[in-house]
Amino acid sequence: MEQDATALQRLTQPTLDYRALTPPTPRAERLAVLWTLLTLALALFLGWALMLAVNSRTATFSDPQLSLQYPAGWAAGTDDEGNAVFRNLGSESLRFHERITVIHAEAPSSGLPAASPLAEAATAWTLSRSQALSSFRNLATVDGLTVADQPAIRVDYAYVADPTAALGRPGVPVVVRGSDYLFLVGNQMHVISGQATEADWSAFEKTLAKVVASVRLNPAPAP
């Protein structure tokens, strides 16, 4: 009890410490700033290491057709059409979370002359996107790519999404950018579709490229 009282007294009562009336020298002030900066640098270095460790963690998605690795912290689910979707619920834009969707469909036909079945499927796919998405713009179509050791085409596009309208709350629409990687296996078309807002796009593009690079075809089950 007595000890507690002494400790409390030490904390609350002034002591005759001469440093209390002696301002620091300029050198001491410079050192204090230097140590503060070093402390900040150490904290940020540890934070950077934490970020690298966390970002290297992935989760595996697998369905009968293919498997891929996506960031472990993303939320996995399905969209209205039953396609697998992985969403980053922490993305910069709170109104439209960046997402990657895995779509399997029968290879569509555009009815237009095309260099290959894949190019024809890409044309038909772009057409269907333009009808489904508001203010759709096809930004580029890049061929000569490979996904899961299969020839692939990437369709880059942008459209205007109105995510708050579905919630019944009026809000400002957002411009969304997307890249769809298409490849064919037999008569089956597989699409790895990535979408994010303009603000998220530059960082998301790298994540999408990593996910696409991780795609592997699953062997067909024995008959």
């Binding site: 009336l21 700033v33 900040l40 940020l44 934070g47 960031p71 709170l94």
Partner: protein, 300 residues
């Protein structure tokens, strides 16, 4: 070299009363806004909603400045200096803090993966960056001015920098959400303001000591680390108490922020009072010593 003890040890009670009024005023204001939002749902949409949100984001800073101005009128701190540090805090948040946290580290992409990741990232990245910038807003501006002549000035300018920082975060919140409704929006704004002002009060206390006393080399880093740790811990706890599954209950965040702010400002108040008493005691002791020496000399 020594300092003017009575000046350094001058305590500005206007600061403490205005800070207490700010905490009480903001809690009362959120209760009022919440009531209004429930009873009279606003019909604001689009740009009007955004404009209302931006005005709302400014309320805490305006309230504190108004309270401080009224409380401090008999012993005034130059208001343009206080306002200048407030603006500098905001500018550093917009130009450095947010880009580093959200674009360089992109913490929003990965910090929610596990509770321990969230806590560590909140302290090591968000906490340290935010608290360092608030400290820098004072240390590299008003700190060397002759206006920074009292120990408690560190807290005054620290709180101003913290409110500036919070105001920019609140602007970002409003713009990200395309405007905010009065009830939830006011609570988020108040939580940010109370939290950032009180954490900056801690670094302000450490700065005030460092300016007028010979402190050990670890003194400022210690202040920064304590403020960063409390910052990270607070926002981690705030997430825990406000997000329960799909339910968002921001009112718990307001209670937590008010408790943190009151607790921190009370501790800082007593620390400053103790340091001031120490300064005055030493000054008196020195005077007595000098008088004794002078008396002895005259006798000789």
């Amino acid at each position: 070299m020594s300092v003017d003890a009575t000046k350094v040890a001058h305590n500005r009670f206007g600061l403490w009363t205005s800070s207490l009024l700010l905490v009480l005023g903001l809690v009362g204001l959120t209760a009022l806004f919440y009531f209004l939002a429930v009873e009279f749902p606003a019909q604001l949409t689009g740009l009007l909603l955004v404009a209302a949100g931006l005005v709302l984001a400014l309320v805490p800073a305006l309230l504190w400045l108004a309270f401080f101005y009224l409380q401090d009128r008999f012993e005034p701190e130059p208001k343009h200096h206080v306002l200048g540090v407030f603006v500098l805090g905001g500018l550093l948040a917009a130009a450095v803090g947010q880009p580093v946290v959200r674009e360089l580290f992109r913490v929003q992409d990965w910090m929610t993966q596990a509770w321990w990741v969230n806590l560590l990232a909140s302290v090591l990245i968000v906490g340290f960056v935010q608290e360092f910038l608030k400290l820098a807003a004072v240390r590299f501006s008003i700190y060397h001015s002759s206006e920074f002549d009292e120990r408690v000035d560190g807290v005054i300018y620290g709180v101003a920098a913290g409110l500036g920082y919070a105001t920019v975060l609140n602007f970002g919140y409003v713009l990200d959400h395309g405007g905010v409704d009065l009830g939830v929006g006011s609570m988020v704004v108040v939580v940010n303001a109370l939290a950032h002002a009180s954490f900056a009060g801690i670094t302000g206390y450490f700065l005030g000591q460092a300016k007028f006393e010979t402190t050990p080399a670890y003194w400022l880093p210690l202040g920064l680390t304590i403020a960063a740790a409390l910052n990270g811990l607070f926002f981690f706890l705030e997430d825990l108490v406000t997000q329960q599954g799909m339910r968002f209950t921001p009112q718990y965040g307001v209670v937590l922020a008010a408790a943190f702010a009151l607790g921190i400002l009370t501790v800082v108040f007593f620390l400053i009072r103790r340091a001031n008493a120490e300064t005055l005691a030493i000054a008196r002791y020195r005077e007595q010593q000098q008088a004794a020496v002078a008396g002895a000399a005259s006798e000789v």
